[in-house]
Point group: C2
DNA sequence: CATCCTATGTGTGCCGCCGAACAGAACGGC
DNA sequence: GCCGTTCTGTTCGGCGGCACACATAGGATG
């Protein structure tokens, strides 16, 4: 396995061909990501892009009246701030560290230059952008049709796929902000999931007990996105396999075993 | 002005430098787009990409239970099927012609080859992808927080920005499908907008009378997306200006005068 | 150990949308 | 001009989530 501070803990970086990886490595800066830290603010320029390794970042879209919804969640399978590569001047969303950990960041213009060379890096990033788009669409559907229970299940599953262990360090209030519902609604939903035995909560903690039940309760909601992300990891693996030895395969097993 | 069958009616094509435009032109196929025609079906491969000229295409995301929401709307400012360029195997959404007209289509692999050359075409397409992403996020927020009135206003405005005239040829039922609400809810919302004098409806037609009122009723919902699309058009113009003579400026004026 | 603060559990009334059922109204073909 | 089809307007009960109010319970801190 890679050492805990290795850039290869991020799957995109791990999947890069040796040439671009070595070109990128000196440009990467290791940064701790404390929970709650805001990495992008609406209407401010994107200076760095972040490759999370052990942290999770949530993309929140906020209205003028302060109402808020999560539109995506990014862990070590992706990159935060990709819109900078697409020619966006400023961030339109707020991005917050949802679960503390580490990341590698890189100056936006440097990565953009590398991105415009084309090649595998571009491939990987575009493929990831597509998965992110699917995630957002799924959330749009979810916001219309699904109950709070279902959305809570989805959030837990997506988060725990990107973390070791089966416990999430988060309060009902914070979950409410992400889902765009009241704290009380989260409490009620959590209760329901608890009585069926899917999860267990303590003050500030949510632990998954029965993952199968949780997946059932999330419904196709989660299944669609999961499938898309598995395809994404397959792409990462095949790219890596075509270049150098592939440490990515191990990651993939890790990711899948954490189901 | 361009002749009615010119590929330059699509703003992306119009913004291309002469070199790539002439390279692309022989690959383009002029196709009529009758309302209701389905251009992509979930889980089927994307064979062609479509540059709408006078038509409008809606991106619909459908759940297993048949529930459905629009996640984006594409007119002559964009392209349909862009996920094929991002490495997606199949379409995940259904895309339907919302308003009849014409388009130019191109085989997916051909455009992909051109896309991977980098250059202005890539720039333009990525910039558009970003705008589309914003649109989807906005809809996600809308689906959580906004009333049917607001969403109807938004839909009308977005559609009419992409059409000449001030009238939309669509039934309440169809609007309901796009918004993911019942037909009756659309009727009620339309009534409200009608009593304030913002719109007027006839059987199968919705006409905007007072655009200002409609924008007020749509709220920031529309304003955010509109702003992003105006930025997008600015990019198109500046690209075109840097290459050859720019007929795009005229389009932009047309787009803005139709507000 | 007492205290405070934050997080969680519960109840009530309200509002918007849904589901279903039905009445009228406009168009389009014959 | 007639008739059937399609589109639109209206009703009523029900439910999920909201706003607000309050009660309790962990867990830190002194």
């Amino acid at each position: 396995m890679s050492p805990p501070h290795s850039a290869k803990l991020n799957r995109i970086l791990a999947a890069l061909p040796l040439a671009s990886y070595t070109r990128l490595l000196p440009l990467l800066e290791f940064v701790p990501m404390p929970a709650g830290h805001v990495i992008y603010e609406p209407d401010l320029p994107i200076r760095h892009l972040y490759f999370p390794t052990t942290s999770i970042v949530a993309r929140l879209y906020e209205t003028a009246s302060g109402a808020c919804t999560q539109t995506g969640i990014i862990g070590n399978e992706g990159i935060a701030g990709i819109s900078a590569l697409f020619g966006a001047e400023n961030s339109l969303a707020r991005m917050v560290v949802q679960s503390s950990g580490n990341a590698f960041r890189i100056k936006a213009d440097l990565l953009k230059r590398e991105f415009e060379l084309g090649g595998e890096l571009q491939h990987l990033l575009l493929r990831f952008a597509h998965a992110l788009m699917i995630q957002t669409e799924q959330i749009a559907v979810s916001n219309r049709y699904h109950t709070v229970d279902q959305q809570l299940s989805y959030l837990l599953l997506m988060s725990l796929d990107r973390l070791p262990g089966n416990e999430l360090h988060i309060t009902h209030e914070q979950v409410g902000i992400m889902l765009g519902v009241r704290r009380e609604s989260v409490t009620v939903a959590a209760q329901k999931l608890q009585t069926t035995g899917a999860i267990r909560c303590r003050r500030g903690h949510l632990a998954v007990v029965d993952r199968q039940q949780l997946e059932a309760s999330a419904g196709e909601n989660y299944a669609v996105v999961k499938k898309e992300y598995e395809r994404l990891l397959d792409v990462y693996c095949s790219v890596a396999a075509g270049s150098s030895e592939s440490p990515t395969k191990q990651f993939k097993r890790f990711f899948q075993s954490s189901r």
